[in-house]
Subunit: 227 residues, 2 copies
DNA sequence: ATTTTTTTGTGTATAAAATACATAAATCAC
DNA sequence: GTGATTTATGTATTTTATACACAAAAAAAT
């Protein structure tokens, strides 16, 4: 018979943040301990015996970065034999989306530093974290076209141009402003508020808010979101 | 500091088979050992220290059912604290598709019996395997609409009516035969063969074959499969 | 205070895609 | 050979996607 299994289980988190100016960023920590000491890495760590996987992710994020997540979803499980140089570690990766006000971050226990990195300027990172990150970016790009998760990256109230810019950034192509607006409005998941915002020059923009309740209602009726 | 982690890692497989007559079936094994002894369950088991996750799935399937898989994809990782009554076990679930000639199955090591069950007639099954199975069914239903994986469930050469029936079965709704055919033909991933097949009464049907090479070519060019 | 620049907001015409629908051809069962 | 069964096929209509330009509101420049 075979020996007792000797595999550890960890979680890793790809936390995305977005601002219209900076584009899409991801949260990285600087490792305090070996291996990859002082290298940048995705936040994460070993799962405790008595906590669920999502709880482990939330705990690690709290411990390492002090960020609170409003959208969290399992991404993929990475289990290659040699992905950790010390032991066999199977890592269940999650990705999360945070609103711009989460850009206040603080390193603590396991991390000597925490920072947002634009996804176009990712440094060398530990383990197979590049692979995890790329998987997450592709998932996000795909998912925003058929689930309204883009709103999780914007402020609660936002001008239409922010939404449009988010989509052009994430999809990496130009979008016709009028057609895009028509499409979103037709989906009927945005409430137009009686507030305006003006940033810099130009006509002030009306603010919108995502109506999640209405979205869930429509989803239950079988209406599909699609960009 | 916390104690050493005591979590086991397993894999489970949801293997789908399909025949035009029986519809969609899933492969179950009868457990030889506790817990859930003599209960039906998804094939699977603990991962060995020196094998990758996919290798573990293939090995367990070979050991328990003697089925060979032509399409295998990671589904989701189930890690709730109490999902196994003995220890903490995190299970990485996969789903696979097999062609009808794989319906020759044999129980061996860990299983006292193996059987195909129609997805509409699933018995009580062990652990959280119902949850895993439902996740797999939903994934399959979703995926066949945007990736040409349905062909993995059919014989290499098949009449158009088989494909049509597969889609009506999986999607659970009627499909207009002419429009469906037009759509598939337009995708340009099927080769029409110079062979006919006649089953029972009626005009003999032309056989088709999925051209995977052409599909990958088109995919690289950005053409999307969509039903 | 007038002009220029910048950003928001909006409609229509055209092209493409999805849908609805019926009849003839080939074989089998009787 | 008559009727039943299954395959094969085209067109008209509706819906959806795309392309495209100018006015309104405010700030910045003069």
């Amino acid at each position: 018979m075979g020996a007792i299994q000797n595999i550890k289980v960890s979680v890793d988190a790809v936390v995305f943040g977005y601002t219209p100016d900076e584009g899409l960023s991801v949260l990285l920590i600087k490792r305090k301990s070996t291996p990859f000491k002082n290298s940048w890495a995705l936040p994460g760590g070993l799962v405790k015996d008595n906590e669920n996987l999502e709880e482990a992710v939330q705990r690690e994020l709290k411990e390492e970065t002090n960020v609170s997540i409003n959208y969290l979803e399992q991404l993929y499980t990475f289990g290659d034999v040699a992905r950790d140089p010390r032991n066999r570690v199977v890592s269940v990766a999650y990705y999360g989306l945070v609103k711009p006000d989460a850009f206040e971050i603080n390193a603590s226990t396991d991390a000597s530093d925490v920072a947002w990195y634009n996804v176009k300027e990712i440094p060398d990172i530990a383990f197979d974290h590049h692979k995890i990150l790329n998987t997450a970016i592709n998932r996000l790009k795909g998912k925003i076209t058929y689930e309204p998760i883009g709103f999780e990256l914007l402020d609660k109230k936002f001008p239409f141009s922010d939404l449009e810019k988010l989509y052009t950034t994430l999809l990496g192509r130009e979008i016709d402003r009028r057609n895009f607006r028509k499409k979103i409005v037709r989906l009927n998941v945005l409430d137009e508020l009686d507030e305006k915002v003006s940033k810099g020059s130009g006509r002030p923009a009306n603010l919108f808010q995502f109506n999640q309740k209405r979205y869930f209602q429509l989803k239950k009726e079988g209406i599909v979101f699609e960009i």
